[in-house]
């Protein structure tokens, strides 16, 4: 018997965290007399900021280490897993690791009867608005928390690591047991009992917040898995066709790379109050992903399916409340905001303010230093433009 655990994480922001969790699963399991190993999905490296990646841990009670390696270790990705951990709930909207993998449902690998374990402030119903449906029974479990984003050098010690270990013990004790988790954390940090306590708290939380999901529950997945051509079916000499040249004003007027949209990289998306825009062009000019589409009225529409949510536009916009980054889980689709604005300016402004009002936060310069909650200010349609300069 092999227990396969996949840990879905947000590129470099969560690489250390995911690796630490994967490693500890193996160490704790081995202290329980089980055999384990862990590795990352090699093709994810070097992990970019925000890109969905995977780290794996494999545990067995009865197989030899070599057999475990042969079954699980020698693969670049796994076919199915017994537990899928999600360290940032916005990945529930789907993950697109690299080109030609396509946008995949977060629970794609979750097998019959297994669990999708998500750190989130949202409840099950809200998550199921995005997670793909399955043909069999599976479980959705959550434990409360922010996506613990850090940087490469300054890591964030917010106990997500310990809490996730406790949550995993609750989701499947055949992977690691809660007593072993507590013992391990207490031995590792003799002067810091709060770590083991945090694990136990998450353990209890998951036990109560695990929900059986019936076949068909969740959304019908729209994105197809791209078909890779046979060796005879593409150009020799490593030459691939360029993106076709083409530009016109308006939504999606700029030709883009159709096979790799990677909108699933974002945790937040920019919401624009077009009525406040001064047409300074900076959001368009400095977007590193060419996501802003110039329109005939001098405003800039956003191709959300290509936006990775870096937040530069919101930071550089000189007008207060004009561009604001908002939790990605609040959006059902990537429809053109400019089109909605042109259709009904008032309704759009109300919609934008409603989205903005929920969970407003920005990151400090050094990501690992935690979130700064900011109070938004509601500006009426065509309201006075304030300066956003700090």
């Amino acid at each position: 018997m092999i227990k396969r655990v996949e840990i879905n994480y947000r590129g470099i922001f969560q690489k250390s965290l995911a690796k630490k969790i994967g490693s500890d699963i193996v160490i704790i399991a081995s202290r329980m007399g089980r055999v384990g190993m862990s590795n990352g999905r090699y093709s994810d490296a070097p992990e970019r900021n925000g890109i969905p990646c995977k780290y794996f841990a494999f545990i067995t009670h009865d197989l030899a280490e070599e057999e475990l390696e042969a079954e699980a270790g020698a693969k670049l990705d796994i076919d199915e897993c017994d537990l899928s951990v999600v360290l940032d709930d916005t990945m529930c909207k789907g993950v697109e690791p690299w080109g030609w993998h396509g946008i995949r449902p977060i629970n794609e690998k979750v097998s019959n009867g297994s669990t999708l374990l998500v750190v989130s402030k949202h409840d099950h119903a809200e998550l199921l608005d995005f997670v793909g449906s399955k043909t069999f029974d599976w479980k959705l479990a959550t434990y409360d928390g922010e996506p613990s984003l850090a940087g490469l050098w300054v890591n964030k010690d917010d106990l997500t690591h310990e809490r996730t270990l406790g949550a995993i013990a609750a989701a499947d004790p055949d992977i690691i047991g809660i007593e072993a988790v507590e013992k391990y954390l207490n031995e590792k940090n003799p002067k810091e009992p709060h770590r083991a306590q945090a694990a136990r708290k998450a353990y209890d939380e998951v036990l109560e917040k695990t929900k059986a999901i019936k076949p068909g529950m969740g959304v019908k997945w729209q994105h197809q898995v791209p078909v890779l051509p046979k060796w005879k079916e593409f150009n020799e000499g490593s030459a691939v066709p360029a993106v076709k040249r083409g530009f016109k004003l308006g939504p999606l007027g700029q030709q883009r790379n159709p096979q790799f949209q990677r909108g699933t990289t974002k945790t937040q998306r920019p919401v624009v109050r077009f009525d406040l825009c001064t047409k300074c062009t900076l959001c368009w000019l400095e977007c590193p992903d060419e996501c802003f589409d110039p329109t005939d009225d001098g405003l800039y529409d956003i191709a959300y399916s290509y936006c990775v949510g870096c937040g530069k536009c919101a930071d550089i916009c000189p007008v207060k409340e004009c561009i604001v980054m908002v939790d990605e889980l609040q959006f059902e689709n990537d429809a053109s905001p400019w089109t909605a604005y042109k259709k009904d300016r008032g309704a759009y402004a109300d919609w934008a303010e409603k989205k903005k009002s929920k969970g407003r936060y920005i990151h400090p310069y050094i990501t690992g230093r935690g979130l700064e909650y900011v109070k938004g200010e509601v500006v009426p349609l065509d309201g006075k433009r304030g300066s956003s300069r700090r």
Binding site: W100, F234, S238, V240, A242
Partner: protein, 410 residues
């Protein structure tokens, strides 16, 4: 059974005669191929090719960009990228210089860019040595390069034309390394008949990368990063091209013979006195002269011996050579290279010949000679000695003398 070395002058395909060494002959081949971009960097013994080309360009006999690179790596990258914009490119090197540019050599093959480079074979340092050894050129043998050895200035000149024709063929599109023994062929002068431009035009079509060329009118991305989900298919494509090359080579020589006279009876190798032979020696490059002469003299003494000069090393003429070699009782493989620690500690060519022969029902005995390293002479007597040992191998079952070093101070 004359070897295909006679130059037919009974037609207007050759315009004049000149006394040229191998390097100079290659330069004339490059001139006749109307190469567009040449990148040069000095290292003995190939350097004179570039000396000669700079003169040819200075005299206005060739219209080409001549770039003095800052290193072999740059030299090969310059030629590679010139080739990618559909310019016919030429470069070359020797010994450790060839190795210095190795990274660029590898990607030129995987990008499938049909440049033609000359390798004036040179021993690899250390200690610094100028003399011939084949290990330098052989370094690309598994990398998707076409690789062959020529043995006379005439052959060298003509093979530059054949090289571009074969390498640039749409079915092939592989880079080609034309190797010649340093010091000997690169520097020894012979009378060379120089083909007429018109005849060359008939034989060598213009270089056309088609949809593979880098130009604003043909927007493509060449060699974007691949993940594990693509590499095998790309290698598979290159494997196919390398196999297709065998047929294209035959075609090219046929065409060449039709235009320039029956120059090459066999594209891949030349047989000398092999009919009814019991024993043959086979080798690459310049040793052929001594080998053939030795065979002739032993024939005069009534011994049934012959010599096979192997020309094409990549693609390896597997079937053709197997058919020929299985006729004999024993084959002596001459290696002007080394493969330390390889099976039986033999040379590179030994292993190629052996695995080529393995599927044959009644295989000849195979023995191996390591000789001429670092430019050490290989005399007619040395070859007679090798014939002798190979004759012994017909009956000798012992495994411990598969490999004999000839000409080393014991």
């Amino acid at each position: 059974m004359m070897t295909a070395e006679r130059v037919h002058t009974d037609r207007k395909v050759y315009e004049r005669e000149e006394l040229l060494n191998g390097c100079q002959a290659v330069a004339h081949g490059v001139r006749l191929a109307d190469v567009d971009v040449i990148s040069a960097y000095p290292i003995r013994p190939y350097t004179e090719v570039m000396d000669q080309l700079s003169r040819i360009i200075a005299d206005g006999e060739l219209d080409a960009e001549y770039i003095i690179a800052d290193s072999e790596h740059s030299q090969f990258e310059i030629a590679k990228h010139a080739s990618s914009v559909n310019a016919r490119a030429f470069a070359g090197s020797s010994g450790t210089g060839w190795c210095y540019g190795f990274e660029a050599l590898v990607v030129t093959a995987t990008d499938r860019l049909p440049v033609v480079y000359i390798v004036g074979n040179r021993a690899l340092d250390d200690p610094g040595a100028f003399g011939v050894e084949h290990n330098d050129a052989m370094a690309v043998r598994d990398m998707g390069w076409l690789l062959l050895w020529v043995t006379t200035p005439q052959e060298a000149l003509e093979h530059i034309l054949l090289a571009y024709r074969i390498a640039e063929d749409k079915r092939v599109r592989m880079p080609l390394a034309l190797a010649m023994d340093g010091a000997f062929l690169t520097h020894s002068q012979h009378i060379v008949k120089i083909p007429a431009k018109e005849a060359v035009k008939k034989f060598l079509p213009p270089y056309d990368l088609g949809a593979g060329r880098l130009h604003p009118d043909n927007p493509i991305s060449i060699a974007p990063q691949v993940n594990e989900d693509w590499v095998m298919e790309i290698r598979r494509q290159n494997w196919e091209a390398a196999k297709r090359a065998r047929g294209v080579i035959k075609e090219a020589y046929k065409e060449f013979n039709a235009i320039f006279g029956e120059r090459y009876s066999n594209p891949y190798f030349t047989e000398f006195m092999t009919e009814d032979a019991d024993v043959v020696l086979i080798g690459l490059g310049q040793i052929a002269a001594a080998g053939r002469t030795a065979a002739k003299r032993l024939r005069e003494k009534g011994q049934k011996v012959g010599y096979i000069g192997l020309r094409w090393f990549r693609p390896f003429p597997t079937l053709e050579l197997r058919e020929v070699l299985k006729r004999f009782k024993a084959v002596g493989v001459i290696d002007r290279d080394f493969a330390h620690g390889s099976p039986d500690d033999g040379g590179v060519l030994l292993h190629e010949i052996r695995s080529c022969l393995y599927p044959a029902k009644n295989r000849p005995a195979v023995t191996n000679f390591i000789t001429g390293l670092g430019g050490r002479d290989v005399s007619i007597d040395d070859c007679i000695k090798m014939f002798g040992i190979t004759q012994k191998a017909m009956t000798d079952e012992k495994l411990d003398d598969y490999v004999t070093w000839i000409g080393v101070r014991e």
